[in-house]
Symmetry: C2
Subunit: 350 residues, 2 copies
């Protein structure tokens, strides 16, 4: 038995400003969870959902209750979850089996069961539409292909579809942080380091392709979004202006808070330490969730976030003081030139 309830929620489009054009259904793989419970003789089970799917949590608990032994205790994580590195380690320690939905594993553990939640949305219609933006094969046959975890199950089909139309498709696995060939994360675009001047990104949202375009400024990034049914070209100009603005404002800062994020997979200790040691007015601050509320009380002039780069770039405008990536900090204090500014990415696992 699987649970294919129709999604009534905005899915993972929270904060993207986009509207959902397709209803999506998800397979929560309840049978696989029940098997894992039986195998491990688990009496406690923890479930963790990405933000956009938390609303489905109670129904999944209810459906699991019907197939699990009556004494099994199921708990849902209430911690924020935007990616594989947002693992709720506390709930994991507290339970015999921990199920993480919607993100592919960054690192495996016997206790964790990853349920990928692949999207059921067809990708070929939007790929058809994307041909208008891609160079024709006669002109430039090389195309890089990347997608996100939720469309990974259709990756081979995407590749074949492009090959049938005369393209030479370039893909690669990226680095250790990425589970699948062709996969990108919000913080890692190494899978797009391929010999092609154009990259086709198939996936929802606008954050991932923006990072992709920033990380590969010499490539054209075509966004085929099967969820919102739109094809666009990633434009980095507005984003860059925002980043330059933050750097310029931070140039006047006399004090810096250097944030070391304590989340698994987000700790760049050497980077944080280096900044704090090289600047008498820089103070190390440790935290898990990096939010405007938590920083306001410190009253420092600017902050450097060595944790998740998406917090810095996507949430940056929500902070009342300039929030910089480590490189942007070095530019602000004159250690690097302004035109060196690049997208902040993460490599390796934890």
């Amino acid at each position: 038995m699987t649970n294919k309830a129709e999604e009534q929620t905005a899915g993972d489009l929270t904060r993207t400003g986009m509207a959902l054009k397709h209803d999506r259904t998800w397979d929560y793989e309840l049978d696989r969870i029940a098997e894992a419970v039986a195998e491990r003789e688990a009496t406690t089970v923890g479930l963790q959902f990405p933000e956009g799917l938390k609303r489905r949590g109670p129904a999944v608990v209810r459906d699991l209750g019907k197939i699990l032994p009556e004494t099994t205790e199921v708990m849902i994580s209430g911690q924020p979850c935007y990616g594989a590195c947002d693992l709720d380690t506390h709930l994991m320690r507290r339970t015999d089996l921990f199920v993480h939905f919607g993100h592919s594993p960054m690192k495996e553990s016997d206790k964790i069961l990853y349920v990928p939640l692949f999207s059921n949305v067809e990708v070929t219609p939007i790929m058809e539409a994307s041909l208008a933006e891609l160079a024709a094969p006669a002109e430039d046959a090389d195309v890089g292909l990347v997608t996100t975890a939720q469309h990974m199950n259709q990756f081979d089909a995407m590749r074949s579809w492009l090959e049938e139309r005369g393209y030479t498709v370039h893909t690669q696995r990226g680095d250790d942080r990425l589970t699948h060939e062709g996969q990108v994360l919000g913080c890692n675009y190494a899978s797009a380091d391929v010999s092609a001047d154009q990259i086709l990104y198939v996936g929802g949202g606008k954050f991932h392709p923006l990072g992709l375009a920033m990380e590969h400024p010499d490539k054209t990034v075509v966004i085929a979004d099967p969820v919102n049914n739109v094809v666009t070209i990633a434009e980095t100009e507005k984003f860059m202006k925002q980043r330059y603005g933050a750097v310029h404002r931070a140039m006047d800062a006399e004090s810096f808070g250097v944030i070391f994020c304590t989340k698994i997979g987000q700790g760049r200790w050497e980077t944080a330490q280096e900044i704090a040691q090289s600047n008498d007015d820089a103070y190390l601050i440790t935290m898990d969730e990096v939010t405007p509320d938590r920083l306001t009380n410190f009253g420092l002039d600017a902050y450097v976030n060595t944790g998740c780069p998406r917090i810095t770039t996507d949430d940056g405008p929500r902070f009342d003081k300039p929030m910089l990536t480590p490189q942007e900090y070095r530019i602000a204090v004159g250690e690097e030139p302004l035109d060196a500014l690049a997208f902040d990415t993460f490599h390796g696992t934890w």
Copy 2:
């Protein structure tokens, strides 16, 4: 050398709506910290400040830097901190010495150094003013005396002052959760369980005396606030109306989120488990910080918070769904009568 810098900030009055009438200075006991660093041969030190004093963190780091060995690494906790049970255990694990400022210990550990930050504000002028609200000794000589951690250093003086004026002062230590005789916490008023019909609370803020009055509805609670320079009588009516309102709204709820708080000292597992097991439409959700943002995504009709009762009562109106204490939940589902409603308190340590 100690650091007695003048406070420019609102101190711990955040969210009380009160204005600071006295400048306060705090003794950060830098010498004691330096001694502890030397004794433990600590190379890493973590500092945790209550919200209202986080702004002083960078200056304390700077001043410590002048007296600690140059290689000592000092980090500040960026986790929210409203009480002794908000210990940043992650930073504690990461450092050789962990300094917690402003709250008295709920439990001791070799690694933790508690620095109490006693207030330097004189209490006798406001006690003088409080005599207008207390029954005269000839009428009722018995008075209970309680205060908060930050005025604890003047507790004996308060007692003597009242005795000199003809009162019989009743005090007690409360239970294991409380460090000092006469001390109250936002979640524990056991030290006011004394043989007196009137209680004199000496301290800032309005949350503590409100809890006190709720917990002891048959006693008159006189608030002598030396920080804001006002004397008032604790009134619970408005507060009770808010709580009854939450209970009434929750009576229509079809689904409940039962929050188990993972913070040290805030976990009431049996209580959470009992509710979840007795109600098919109640779902266990685990988290550390309990905030409106984190609950919104679950979309349940009402929530029961088994963690810090002050979140439920003080922050209740900020949640878009009714937020109940465990007892309020039992009232909402008809297991207890409405007029049984009492203040939710915590007992014991962790």
